[in-house]
């Protein structure tokens, strides 16, 4: 595929991510911190986010599966996930975390279980979207093009 077509695709795809609320302005901030001396900054931070989130989601699943639920522990994990998703601009994930923390405060197990399902869903969605985005960027670079500034 031609560079121009790929670039068009990338612009359209990225716009849709913002429009649909998957990403917010914080993601743009990350992009602005990337430059020639830090050309992989966004991918590096997002990769850290993926690793960290998957660990947290596993811990949350385990902790919520206990006989006696430790809501403080859950809240601590969700707080971390909320922070990291906010830092990379993963808006939908962050929003579920806000609701999740409210259920923790109430000690509402059912509410927490629902939120855990939702946050997993949103996380895998945004992970998928970002991986697609990075692939598109790679294709453009490999075809000799440059990433268009949005």
């Amino acid at each position: 595929m031609e560079v121009v077509q790929l670039q068009g695709r990338l612009i359209e795809f990225t716009s849709s991510l913002f429009r649909e609320g998957f990403l917010d302005d914080q993601y743009t901030q990350l992009q602005q911190l990337q430059d020639e001396s830090n050309p992989d900054f966004v991918v590096e931070v997002v990769s850290l986010f993926f690793e960290d989130s998957e660990r947290l989601l596993n811990d949350l699943t385990t902790t919520l599966g206990q006989q006696i639920v430790d809501f403080k522990k859950i809240d601590a994990h969700v707080h971390q996930l909320k922070g990291s998703s906010a830092s990379i601009g993963a808006q939908r994930v962050k929003n579920v975390c806000v609701a999740f923390r409210n259920f923790c405060e109430e000690g509402n197990r059912e509410g927490c279980l629902t939120c855990l399902q939702q946050v997993k869903h949103e996380y895998y969605l945004v992970k998928n979207k970002l991986e697609t985005l990075f692939k598109l960027e790679q294709q453009i670079l490999q075809a000799g093009g440059s990433i268009p500034l949005m």
């Binding site: 850290l48 960290d52 601590a76 830092s87």
Partner: protein, 181 residues
């Protein structure tokens, strides 16, 4: 800001040669009359936040040391309780500012702030506390303990650029000039 007298500047600094991994160099004036960049110690338990804040600080041309918790930060400053002798002073490390997350397991940012302010060698270092939560009593408590500012996460480039006015200067004796940033 150019120095008023070259001879005065050179007498203030020893030449430390190369910089160590985490340690600061002196505020050495080299041939091109460039001063060393401010050295910030950034403390956060999240690896993502540390990466982000490091990039934000470096893009504002600060030198950065990161620590993953309060204990590591205190260890870097030589302030751990079991240290035989606190031989390190801030003239060795030249930390211009400490920026710390509030919510950390073990020692909170508030507790770290207290320890720094209790230390005779490091209490002058400006400390900024950051948090993702907008909790007024938390903000008040930190400011009362001597935090210069409380910032909300995620930090923006504009927040980080603003830090420059808080930075502790090492380029000349503080009784010579006001810190005008």
């Amino acid at each position: 800001m150019s120095p008023s007298s070259p001879s005065k500047i050179s007498s203030n600094f020893g030449n430390n040669g190369g910089e160590g991994g985490g340690g600061g160099g002196g505020g050495i004036v080299d041939g091109s009359d460039q001063l060393e960049p401010p050295h910030v110690l950034a403390v956060d338990d999240s690896v993502i936040e540390r990466k982000l804040i490091e990039r934000l600080l470096k893009s504002s041309e600060y030198k950065v040391t990161t620590a993953e918790n309060g204990l590591r930060a205190l260890e870097y400053l030589g302030l751990l309780e079991d240290a035989k002798e606190n031989t390190l002073t801030n003239n060795d490390l030249k930390v211009s500012l400490v920026i710390t997350d509030y919510c950390m397991p073990g020692m909170t940012g508030y507790e770290l702030l207290k320890k720094i302010k209790e230390s005779s060698n490091f209490r002058e270092i400006p400390v900024v506390v950051m948090s993702s939560e907008k909790n007024p009593s938390r903000v008040e408590k930190c400011l009362e303990e001597g935090a210069l500012e409380f910032m909300f996460k995620p930090l923006q480039l504009s927040d980080v650029k603003r830090l420059r006015c808080h930075m502790m200067k090492f380029d000349e004796p503080c009784n010579e000039r006001l810190c005008v940033g």
